[in-house]
């Protein structure tokens, strides 16, 4: 069962917002409703289900309603209509005390501009959520220290936030969000205020944390590259509506409509596409065969090299045409003329990394999984075509 589920979740801003609900039901646009009623549609009948342990990315440009949507989940902004279910319980029906308990125990939050309390030290910031629960001082200090360690800031506990760099401040923000061990972590553009290198580090670290802690994360971003990088599921928003929900591959390869398509066009493909997207079937030969068979294979398939594999398709090396003819002349086995310096990459390798590795070698890049099993090859031409954006995708199975 989904841990969080939104049903026709709607937020209208302005006086008497309920009167816009029937207009939304009629399918009126955000502009038309604003023109007729002066009401602003923040979130329009959002429907989604988030499975426990997922990173669910809500992605959209500014003004698309993504920050409003995440605040509807813990009711920092009160929804106008619809339902938000947490493990099947309607959050909108909670009384103030139940809502407080829900916020204290079940959801943590990390903010774009960190929102650390300037009058509290790092550790006092982290333990804030525990303090308001009335957890005794020693216990909450221990829990906060663990959280601090998790984000790699041990030793900074008695500093004040202003003494820390932006990246460190957001680590504190993350530690604060995780301190009460919530089921769900809401992250509102949590990395948007950080510079690109720090941002990438933080994304990596979040993925590591996530694989360790198995939190459900709702991550808001306006950056599609970030969304594609960390999201298990991505919900793309426009004008308050969710226009597509899918895995990164689905968003990229099967845009639901023109809007998503235009969005995806702007993606820096070299940072999104991986070897698995552009690889082709490898021409292989099992190592026990002789050089004559190898040369015959090459002639038949019009290639100048073959990948030598064992029976389990584990990559052993490369046989070039020259080496095969030399083996034939000198009576050597394939094993003896095997080239072992063939460039290899994992299926998750980004193609801009592949491209860097290709310059020096005449050979294509072999794509192997963690067990050294040969999955395919990436040719230089395929990388260039992919970078130029005119490739038909969908051949590679998504990693």
């Amino acid at each position: 069962m989904a841990i969080i589920e939104a049903k026709r979740l709607t937020k209208i801003f302005g006086p008497d917002p309920k009167k816009a609900i029937p207009l939304l039901d009629k399918g009126w646009s955000k502009e038309k409703i604003h023109a007729e009623t002066k009401l602003t549609v923040g979130v329009n009948q959002a429907e989604f289900a988030i499975e426990a342990g997922q990173i669910f990315v809500i992605m959209g440009l500014s003004g698309s309603g993504k920050s409003t949507l995440v605040r509807l989940i813990n009711r920092l902004i009160e929804p106008t209509s619809g339902q938000i279910l947490f493990n099947g319980t309607d959050v909108l029906r909670m009384n103030p005390e139940q809502l407080r308990q829900f916020r204290r125990k079940n959801v943590g939050m990390v903010f774009q501009k960190f929102a650390l309390f300037p009058h509290r030290t790092v550790i006092q910031n982290i333990e804030y959520g525990l303090e308001v629960q009335g957890i005794d001082k020693k216990k909450r200090r221990d829990m906060a220290m663990q959280s601090l360690e998790l984000v790699g800031l041990s030793g900074w506990e008695n500093s004040y936030p202003e003494q820390l760099s932006g990246g460190m401040q957001q680590r504190v923000g993350l530690a604060r969000g995780l301190a009460n061990d919530p089921d769900v972590l809401l992250m509102d553009e949590a990395f948007s205020a950080l510079d690109p290198l720090i941002r990438k580090d933080m994304q990596d670290e979040l993925l590591v944390l996530q694989s360790k802690m198995k939190k459900t994360i709702v991550f808001i971003t306006h950056d599609l590259n970030e969304a594609l990088r960390i999201g298990d599921q991505i919900a793309l928003m426009r004008d308050g509506s969710i226009v597509q929900i899918g895995t990164p591959d689905e968003i990229l390869m099967q845009p639901a409509n023109k809007y998503v398509e235009r969005f995806v066009e702007d993606v820096d493909l070299s940072k999104v596409l991986t070897a698995s997207h552009v690889m082709e079937k490898a021409e292989t030969i099992t190592i026990e065969r002789g050089p004559r068979v190898a040369l015959q294979f090459m002639r038949d398939r019009g290639v100048s090299s073959l990948y030598a594999v064992d029976k389990a398709m584990n990559l052993l090396g490369v046989i070039t045409a020259e080496d095969a003819s030399r083996a034939l002349k000198e009576g050597l086995s394939l094993q003896e003329v095997l080239l072992q310096e063939a460039p290899i990459a994992s299926p998750e390798a980004l193609i801009n990394e592949l491209f860097e590795g290709m310059g020096s070698s005449k050979l294509p890049v072999a794509v192997v999984d963690g067990g050294n099993r040969l999955l395919g090859v990436v040719l230089k031409g395929a990388v260039l075509a992919a970078l130029a954006g005119n490739t038909v995708f969908g051949a590679g199975d998504s990693a």
Binding site: F102, K113, F117, V132, Q133
Partner: protein, 281 residues
């Protein structure tokens, strides 16, 4: 022009209101008289029961603790000058009056400021009232104050409070409203109750601003001591008032100087406290 329109009998209305309040709220005024009179009297007795030199040492140490050397030296010399001029006990009476007015202003003003910050309707009612209190000439408060509390130090304190409380209310309101919305949101997101939010976030962040208001309140109530002496409040203000009525410039200057010294000490001490609350985060 408007010859035929009769004058609004505002003065009559105010006086009947005053009379009505006097008859109907007498027990309340009595209680206020006891509390305020008791506080001023107690402080006055306490300050005057300690030997001046010992008190000067205590004040100097306090100044050193809060503001370091320059502050301490000024305090010591300033208070010694006051003692030398023979105005010590009057100055302590004045200090008792000012402190009482300031304490009561804070006790009443900070909660009102908090209410204003939390509720726009309260703010809409209170703000014009504060404008009125600050612009109405202070002398006007003296008359009803005397009617309700009779002559002496109590009406002096009461009119000082009316005159001096607005900055505390205003700046408490402002300070809390200026707490960044994202911090308030964070406090909400972690499940704070309204009072946890107030005491753990809003008041600490607003503290420098609130202290600036309290500083203003102290300064304004100090500026009321001469006016308050017109209705029988004792202290150094009464010396100034007497010197003015008798045309005695020398005495007036001595007493005025004592007020200035007291004002500078109180101002610098509270300023220093503001600076400290700021640097502490």
């Amino acid at each position: 022009m408007s010859m035929n329109i009769p004058k609004i009998p505002l003065a009559d209305w105010i006086e009947s209101l005053e009379a009505w309040l006097e008859t109907n709220l007498d027990p309340l005024f009595g209680a206020i008289r006891v509390v305020v009179g008791g506080t001023v009297g107690g402080l006055d007795t306490a300050l005057n029961s300690v030997h001046p030199l010992l008190l000067i040492v205590i004040f100097t140490l306090l100044a050193w603790f809060i503001g370091r050397w320059r502050m301490a030296i000024f305090t010591a010399i300033g208070l010694l000058v006051i003692d030398n001029l023979g105005l010590w006990s009057q100055t302590m009476q004045t200090l008792a009056l000012v402190l009482t007015a300031a304490i009561i202003s804070v006790v009443i003003g900070v909660p009102i400021g908090i209410l204003c910050a939390r509720n726009n309707s309260v703010q809409k009612v209170v703000t014009p009232l504060l404008d009125f209190m600050q612009t109405m000439p202070a002398f006007v408060y003296l008359l009803p104050a005397v009617t309700f509390f009779s002559l002496g130090v109590v009406p002096g304190v009461i009119s000082s409070i009316i005159f001096a409380i607005p900055p505390t209310i205003r700046l408490t309101n402002l300070g809390i409203r200026q707490v960044p919305a994202e911090l308030v949101e964070a406090a909400d997101a972690f499940g704070s109750t309204p009072s946890q939010k107030l005491f753990k976030l809003q008041l600490p962040i607003a503290m420098p601003t609130i202290m600036a208001g309290i500083n203003q309140t102290i300064m304004l109530s100090l500026s009321m001591v001469v006016i308050a002496s017109m209705i029988g409040a004792q202290g150094v203000g009464a010396y100034v008032y007497r010197a003015v009525t008798q045309g005695n410039t020398g005495v007036g200057f001595e007493a005025g100087l004592a007020i200035v010294i007291l004002a500078i000490i109180l101002d610098r001490l509270t300023q220093q406290v503001i600076r400290r609350t700021k640097t502490n985060g």
